[in-house]
């Protein structure tokens, strides 16, 4: 019965991934990340993703802070933050987030405050969604590893 559970979990994980790909939440760059994971760095993906979350939250906070300023918002600075956000998001394959960053940056180029606000909301929403999904993914991964570990005394974490 254990194997069965592992299979189910695996299927869940794959399905979630497939779903995310399908939705455009993730793209092939994420696959690259997975390929970079090996015995030498078995937790690479989660490590990178955690770095990404950490950085992104800072960026999002900064962005919100900048946008909420009552005086003139510093669009240039926002653009800089967005550049970084874009870079990191595209590095891990977070496609939707990246796309919104692009739109957001276009809005900052035009100093379009309303557009920026909307973009920020979307960005936060997308980011949360991504974060949740990736957390889910890692949870399944962990469970699967556990289950597999119980069944086969092979380390893999």
């Amino acid at each position: 019965m254990l194997g069965f559970g592992a299979d189910l979990l695996w299927a869940d994980m794959n399905r979630l991934l497939a779903f995310l790909f399908h939705q455009g939440v993730l793209d092939e760059q994420f696959l690259q990340l997975q390929q970079l994971q090996d015995e030498a760095s078995p937790n690479f993906v989660s490590e990178v993703v955690n770095i990404y979350f950490h950085e992104s939250e800072k960026l999002l906070n900064n962005l919100r802070g900048l946008l909420m300023e009552r005086e003139l918002s510093d669009y240039k600075k926002m653009g800089i933050h967005l550049n970084q956000f874009m870079g990191s998001s595209s590095s891990i394959g977070a496609k939707r987030v990246t796309n919104i960053c692009v739109a957001f940056r276009a809005a900052t180029d035009q100093s379009n405050r309303a557009g920026c606000l909307r973009a920020l909301e979307m960005l936060e929403h997308e980011y949360c969604y991504l974060k949740n999904k990736l957390h889910e993914l890692f949870q399944i991964e962990q469970q699967r590893a556990l289950v597999a570990g119980v069944r086969y005394p092979v380390q893999n974490q």
């Binding site: 779903f19 997975q34 990178v48 874009m86 590095s91 496609k95 739109a103």
Partner: protein
């Protein structure tokens, strides 16, 4: 923060290991990207050091001079502009620097080139791109050695072109590796290599002659002495009196030279005011030729402009009519046609179609042209008109586009004084080199126009790899401060566009990203499809995707992802689309029936979908299974993003 990691298995001097052990310094303020690139570098078995701050990186480089082989730097960094770092490194340490950025706009890339970047990678950087960066190290070292190398300019430049051939590579690469690791010994090593290679010209393949500036100068003066119309290879050879040079070398070079002149003669009309005019002796088109060569060679710093001017003016003054003579044309025509690879055309196309040449030589080049306006309005116009790069219209009076491209590029670089001559020089070299390498470019060189992208010469991608490094970097470097003329072969790729070559290695991914940044909604669709395709192929790699047997009791575990997600479209899409194509790749309980059923059996799918109890009303759109993903994706893609802009 600076960490060091040593690559597992990096060995010193082991020939088969190069480029393992390459010492890379990566600078990026973005920790995510930094970690990823670090991991990729480790995978490539480089010895990687990472930095988040440019100032720290610079100090590191200063402290540990000679400890790094190549620097990868992000463009946008908070403490120091990436370009500044680039300049510093170039000046102080003379290491190859590769820029990275999410910004793939032509202007950004151009800026990188101007500041002397060896390469410009578009984020997200992929491992394949990292695997290639060693070429810049090798090239730089070889070029530097070439400068020191006064004993003649013949080298077997085959080695660095056969990128994929491991066996041939090991010896040269080992040397390169050793050169990399022991900079002091480099010149001596290099010379040994040269001697080794040129030891038996008879037995090995005919060593390719690299036409250095000096050599070319000798050539030109010899031709000048004889007169272009009377210049025969044999006599030129005698006059040049260069040991080791064969008549064939001279002959081919002469051919190219003639083509070059012809090409330039047509460009002349466009060059008004762009370059310093040699006191225009001739009304004729050839005046520009003089200018070009002069500028080009003068830029090399080897020949005082006046001398060259005199040389060329004289050279050109005489054959002003001769070059255009039918006899010559015929010869050239045949020569060029005879050249199997159509690089001749490309070389010509780069500047100018044959003057007065009636027939379209070689391939059919799409006759579309860019006007100057299109070009100068920004490289945005390029994608649609990239085929001009290869177009050759044997039309006299023109200022047409192959040349236009030249001109426009000149315009853009106009304010960079040194760039034009370098570029011309480079083109000159390209042309020559291209024709010296018939073997490599044997295949058809017609540029494949991909409607939505910059030109990617698809067929030649393989050969591109072979000549890869030289070509791309040559393009890059020529616009930098680098006055060294790189004679490595410029592949087809270079003909397409200068900026295209900036995208490392004809990287379609880069282009996809470019579009992703500019047209989010449409691009994401295509890349979703791309990713879906890849998904199908790669879910297998998730550990061997195992499609679940249908009888497994699934119903109780309703797809949480489908239902939980707020976006009802998603559910719909997921269920409707199933997974396109190879359903077996993706175990999905809800499409389990679809997995079994054939893709094209749409009605069955509909039935199945309905049978799982979900009412789906969007069926009418799914006429074609193959296309199913697109409408869906488009639909909700546009949902997501357009709202940002509406109002």
């Amino acid at each position: 923060m600076a960490q060091s990691r040593s690559a597992a298995g990096a060995c010193k001097g082991a020939t088969a290991e190069f480029p393992a052990g390459l010492r890379v310094l990566v600078v990026d303020d973005d920790a995510t990207t930094l970690r990823i690139i670090e991991q990729m570098s480790i995978r490539c078995r480089y010895r990687v050091t990472t930095c988040t701050e440019a100032t720290v990186a610079l100090n590191l480089l200063r402290e540990r001079k000679g400890c790094f082989d190549v620097v990868l730097s992000d463009v946008h960094m908070p403490d120091m502009d990436g370009y500044k770092l680039l300049e510093h490194v170039g000046l102080e340490m003379d290491l190859p620097v590769i820029m990275m950025s999410g910004d793939s706009t032509t202007s950004a890339v151009m800026k990188g080139i101007r500041h002397g970047a060896c390469d410009y990678l578009i984020k997200p950087v992929r491992e394949e791109e990292l695997r290639n960066i060693w070429q810049h190290v090798v090239r730089k070292i070889w070029n530097e050695n070439k400068e020191h190398d006064n004993s003649g300019s013949m080298e077997d430049s085959d080695w660095n072109k056969r990128g994929n051939d491991d066996t041939e590579y090991t010896s040269s690469v080992a040397d390169a590796a050793e050169v990399v690791k022991a900079p002091k010994k480099r010149s001596s090593l290099k010379e040994e290599d040269i001697e080794l290679e040129s030891d038996d010209p008879a037995t090995s393949k005919k060593p390719r002659v690299v036409w250095s500036v000096e050599l070319h100068q000798q050539f030109v003066s010899a031709v000048n002495q004889l007169g272009l119309d009377k210049a025969v290879p044999k006599r030129i050879l005698e006059l040049m009196n260069v040991p080791g040079l064969t008549r064939e070398n001279v002959a081919s070079h002469l051919q190219k030279f003639r083509l070059y002149l012809k090409r330039l003669s047509g460009v002349a009309q466009q060059q008004n005011g762009m370059l310093n005019a040699v006191p225009g002796t001739i009304e004729s088109n050839l005046s520009a030729t003089g200018r070009f060569d002069i500028q080009a060679l003068a830029a090399a710093g080897h020949v005082p402009p006046e001398t060259l001017a005199a040389l060329h003016a004289e050279l050109l003054g005489r054959p002003a009519t001769n070059i255009l003579s039918t006899a010559d044309q015929a010869t050239l025509l045949q020569a060029s046609i005879g050249l199997k690879h159509s690089h001749a055309e490309h070389a010509v196309a780069y500047g100018q179609p044959f003057v007065k040449c009636p027939s379209n030589i070689g391939k059919d080049f799409p006759p579309s042209f860019l006007t100057a306006n299109d070009m100068s309005s920004g490289y945005g116009a390029w994608p649609s008109s990239n085929n001009t790069m290869g177009s050759v219209r044997p039309n006299n009076s023109d200022e047409r586009v192959g040349t236009q491209y030249n001109n426009i590029l000149m315009d853009i670089l106009d304010h960079q004084q040194r760039q034009q001559p370098q570029q011309k020089q480079q083109q000159h070299q390209q042309q020559k080199q291209q024709q010296q390498q018939p073997l490599i470019h044997d295949q058809s060189c017609s540029i494949n126009v991909q409607p939505s992208c910059l030109v990617v010469p698809s067929q030649s991608c393989d050969t591109l790899q072979a000549v890869n490094g030289s070509a791309s970097v040559n393009q890059n470097c020529s616009f930098g401060m680098n006055a060294v003329i790189d004679y490595s072969l410029l592949s087809q790729k270079s003909n397409n566009s200068v900026s295209a070559s900036q995208f490392s290695g004809g990287d379609t991914k880069a282009r996809a990203v470019l579009y992703a940044h500019t047209m989010p909604s449409t691009c994401s669709m295509s890349s979703i499809n791309g990713s879906i395709q890849q998904l199908q192929n790669s879910t297998l790699t998730f550990g061997g995707a195992r499609p679940l047997p249908s009888p497994l009791p699934m119903s109780d575990r309703q797809d949480p992802y489908g239902l939980k997600s707020g976006d009802s479209f998603d559910q719909v899409c997921l269920r409707n689309i199933g997974f396109i194509g190879k359903g077996t790749c993706i175990p999905n309980r809800f499409v389990q029936n679809e997995i079994e059923s054939s893709v094209s059996d749409f009605s069955q799918m509909k039935v199945n979908v309905d049978s799982t109890g979900n009412a789906l009303k969007e069926e009418p759109n799914f006429i074609n299974m193959q296309k199913v993903s697109r409408p869906i994706v488009e639909r909700y893609q546009s949902c997501d993003h357009s709202s940002v802009f509406t109002e």
